[in-house]
């Protein structure tokens, strides 16, 4: 590493990456067996599987840095205030349109972020990003195609996709928020400043949403509080209740 960075800042950064993939992977896995068509069941399971695999890498490294913790300890034994995912990934699935719109809005950020992280000054971060970016390139292609197909499909599918975009848009801004943790991470060359990804993101999202004949809301208002843990949505607690149940009910058991 070129510039030393406090373990705490690095840990926060890793939790932000790993909690995003963990919580979104969980949400996507809720679709299992309930998708509109068999190919979508397969694709959703595949996306969830990739995201859980990435979680194992990000939280695995976070646990090492925290000292002797496993990815499972972090996933299953923290409470809501310790989670560092953006609010976007914890909002409920809604209909298939909202799920895919959320996936697209996240994939677009994720693919740009991972591309930058491949040149991270921290080799471990760069290695995870290199592996994950291949998977995420496919996620983005698929979610982008589906958003275009449904946005420019029937009148009903168009209306539903516009509603999904209107609902989710206020959760987009948080992915580009910066704080002191980011400042330290940027100074150490570990990751880019989130705000610096916005231009590329806007260009990408605008291109796809235009093809989808959808209108991006004008307001840039952003709900925040997930990536710094200050204030999650009410939904996260319920998600954790389900996800963590066995580990909480039978402490110390090996599975």
């Amino acid at each position: 590493m070129s510039v030393s960075v406090s373990n705490d800042a690095l840990l926060q950064f890793l939790l932000r990456m790993g909690d995003n993939t963990l919580i979104l992977g969980h949400r996507v896995s809720e679709w299992c067996g309930h998708a509109p068509v068999l190919e979508e069941d397969i694709a959703l399971a595949n996306t969830a599987l990739d995201l859980i695999g990435q979680t194992q890498m990000w939280l695995g490294l976070a646990g090492e840095i925290e000292g002797g913790k496993s990815a499972d300890d972090l996933a299953f034994l923290r409470d809501a205030w310790d989670f560092r995912n953006v609010l976007l990934v914890e909002v409920p699935n809604g209909d298939f349109g909202r799920t895919l719109m959320r996936q697209f809005l996240f994939d677009a950020w994720h693919s740009i972020m991972l591309g930058r992280l491949m040149t991270s000054s921290d080799d471990r971060v760069a290695a995870i990003a290199a592996k994950a970016s291949k998977e995420v390139a496919y996620h983005l292609e698929r979610s982008g195609d589906t958003v275009v197909g449904l946005g420019d499909g029937t009148e009903e599918s168009h209306t539903r996709m516009q509603e999904a975009l209107d609902y989710l848009w206020p959760y987009v801004g948080e992915m580009f928020a910066s704080d002191e943790v980011d400042a330290k991470i940027v100074a150490a060359g570990i990751a880019p400043n989130p705000i610096d990804l916005r231009e590329e993101y806007d260009a990408l999202v605008e291109r796809i949403l235009t093809q989808a004949t959808l209108t991006i809301p004008e307001s840039r208002f952003a709900h925040k509080g997930g990536r710094d843990g200050r204030m999650h949505t009410e939904h996260l607690g319920h998600l954790l209740t389900q996800m963590q149940w066995l580990q909480r009910a039978y402490p110390g058991a090996k599975w």
Binding site: C32, G33, D41, I52, D72, V148, E156, M243
Partner: protein, 325 residues
Amino acid sequence: MYAQMVKSEASNDDPEKLAEFQARIDADIKIEPKDWMPQGYRKTLIRQIGQHAHSEIVGQLPEGNWITRAPTLERKAILLAKVQDEAGHGLYLYCAAETLGVSRDELTEMLLDGRMKYSSIFNYPTLNWADIGAVGWLVDGAAIMNQVPLQRTSFGPYSRAMIRICKEESFHQRQGYDAIRKMAEGTPEQKKMAQDAMNRFWYPSLMMFGPSDKESVHSAQSMAWKIKINTNDELRQKFVDQTVPQAEYLGLTIPDPDLKWNEERGHYDFSEPDWSEFFDVIKGNGPCNVDRLAARNKAWDDGKWVRDGLLAHARKKKAGNLAAE
């Protein structure tokens, strides 16, 4: 995940063509979609392959029930991968059925309105985490017993789908066994979960082979056509013989006081499942029949706008491409 054998359909075909067809089957020449085949052969295969495909699809539900509660990231990933494989099996099987002249949508509608069945095993609930191990170990184990011989079945596309499916199923069975082993070797509560899963899944797993068919005329026809290779009883015995030592190794008790090794036969003697329960479940009275079918219907109905939307977009794109040419 599972091929439940169906009864063969009667045929009313030209005897000369039938004899020629039978000669090909006897010579182990695969029947391909464009070849002549008896109506009964075609209908029996559509029912059997369709039912197998439906079982893969409905089978996502009892396992999906635990994906969001899987106790570790690794177990969650393994379960996701397994359910994804099963949806993939459904896809190859629907494709194999389509070669016989029935569309996936037609088959789906027949599942949703109850005209076609899926394996009854999926009408049982998954109540604790060890059930996920038991489903892999016992249910996939029983399914493999049925499916391994089907790799040699006479209809080419079905046989080829089965070869691919069997590879993945063997892997699932090992993963299931590993999951339940971990629990059988774990805390007293985990052992209790493992035994509870064993108690509930043992007899339903034996039922997966179907009632005794020694005297069945339908089975004889299916066996002559090599749609079916072994009798239900042969496969059930093989499953019991394979599973008892595994259960002993795990320290789990099989819920059958009459289970014992028969030196003379060289096989285990075991109690028959309660066949009245089996017929009840087939009639729709299993613990989950109504909910499973309702979940599939809801997924299909809720997804209509998505399928319509994507189709409309594909048509617009095609029209746009044609206009540009």
